[in-house]
Amino acid sequence: MNFDWQTAWDSVPQLLQGLLIALQATALGYVLALVLGLAFALARRSHQAWLRLPVAFFVEFVRSTPLLVQLFFLFFVLPTVGLELSPMWTGAIGLGVHYATYTSEVYRSGIDGVPAGQWEAATALSLPRRRTWTRIILPQAIPRVVPALGNYAISMFKDTPQLTVITVAEMLSVVKALGSQNFQYLELITMAGLLYLVAALLIAWPVRIAERRYRKENA
């Protein structure tokens, strides 16, 4: 088998551009997933049925349909009702909303993990509900789920190739574009794979540190 190092090396600048776009989509999407996920988790514990039930339905709906289908709708169908977002924002929102339904479950497990005594103590002290959440429950719930939340950043990053269908020029679409010119897919895929690996490890790094710190604190 011939592996053409020259081609592999020459493709790197263009692949890096694609990688940058993938990372950008991941970063935007992840912030959205963190914020929206918490909002979903809180809404699902709300005493107001008008808030709890639609959110529960929405979360289950999004979790039960493929990201690809959601991206397709956001990109091709929303403009027909007058809402046109750029491909990058469409991708970031698609990824963010999709993963928010997963992070909301992570937050939920964190919240459920706070001992019932903490709720009872807050009630005994007649703390307002908002104060109970922001000062008692969430400060205990969130640190323990940081590693699990971090894993979804990596997972989201690996889903960025799906953004090709909405014309975002992420790394695998660069592979396809270059490959259709020189047909040296082996070299291109190999280099893209290596770059994905390096980037994913870099994302995983702070996650692992947070994980270790949490374990040490709770040892």
Partner: protein, 270 residues
């Protein structure tokens, strides 16, 4: 394995005759090569290919579905014996595989929205007007055509699929979709009633050189004898006029018939 090492032109034709079957690589792209509702491989290229292989004494065709981008690597890796996908003959591809002479030439056209007030009609319109975005297929020759006509990259939208291009046009993601007239005509025929229309077909000219979109059959680089035998039968079909009759049901016309050669198309534009 160095495929060029085999200098005697290869014996694949004899082996195919012995086996009685040929494996045809296709990318499921109507009307070039696709599986129809009955589950049979058909389309412009497979039908021409079947007719020629029958004349060469190989009666049975085994379909081998592949991603378009994987056709050339697949052929070289021996997953199938011939590419029958209406693949355009380009100098870059000629460095990888052998081509038969083209069995058709496909002029380009633009698909645009019928309702637009100032409909773009030419690639020059897309180069000059800042308000227009041009749709192309990811990794297609049209990407280079757009660049050659001076359409800036930030106004070129690359769709992953042909259907995506048409949907994108309908959704206003692009204002025109550049592809061969044949593909666009076929796409339109599958979605009757959509408010889209085709511009006049044209052969793109970049730096004074005509950019032919002429498609042929791909063979492994060492199989010159099979390619030559195939070419001889292809020319016979052209001369008798049978070729046009075979491809007419797939939307091809007199305008798509060509006398271009693979030799000419493989030469890099100087």
């Amino acid at each position: 394995m160095d495929l060029k090492a085999q200098q005697d032109g290869g014996n694949l034709l004899e082996r195919l005759r012995d086996a009685g079957e040929v494996r045809m690589g296709f990318a499921n792209e109507a009307p070039y090569g696709y599986v129809n509702r009955e589950g049979v491989l058909t389309g412009e290229a497979p039908e021409v290919g079947k007719a020629i292989f029958r004349r060469l004494g190989v009666d049975k065709v085994v379909p081998a579905l592949s991603d378009f981008g994987s056709l050339i690597p697949g052929l070289r890796a021996g997953l199938f014996d011939v590419i029958a996908a209406g693949m355009f003959i380009t100098p870059a591809r000629c460095e990888q595989i052998l081509f038969s002479d083209p069995d058709y030439n496909a002029p380009e056209a633009l698909l645009v929205r019928s309702g637009d007030a100032e409909k773009p009609l030419t690639l020059q319109d897309f180069a000059q007007r800042d308000d227009l975005r041009l749709g192309v297929l990811l990794g297609s020759v049209e990407v280079d055509v757009a660049a050659g006509y001076g359409v800036p990259p930030e106004r070129v939208v690359t769709f992953a699929t042909q259907a995506g291009g048409i949907d994108g046009l309908l959704a206003g993601r692009a204002d025109g979709f550049l592809l061969t007239a044949i593909s666009l005509r076929d796409g339109l025929s599958r979605r009757p009633g959509v408010p889209l229309e085709l511009t006049e077909p044209f052969v793109p000219v970049i730096d004074g050189v005509e950019q032919y979109g002429a498609g042929g059959f791909g063979f492994r680089p060492d199989q010159t004898r099979l390619r030559d035998a195939f070419n001889a039968e292809l020319h016979a079909l052209k001369d008798s006029g049978d070729l046009l009759e075979i491809v007419r049901p797939f939307g091809f016309s007199e305008a798509e018939m060509t006398d271009l050669t693979a030799d000419r198309l493989c030469r890099p534009a100087s």
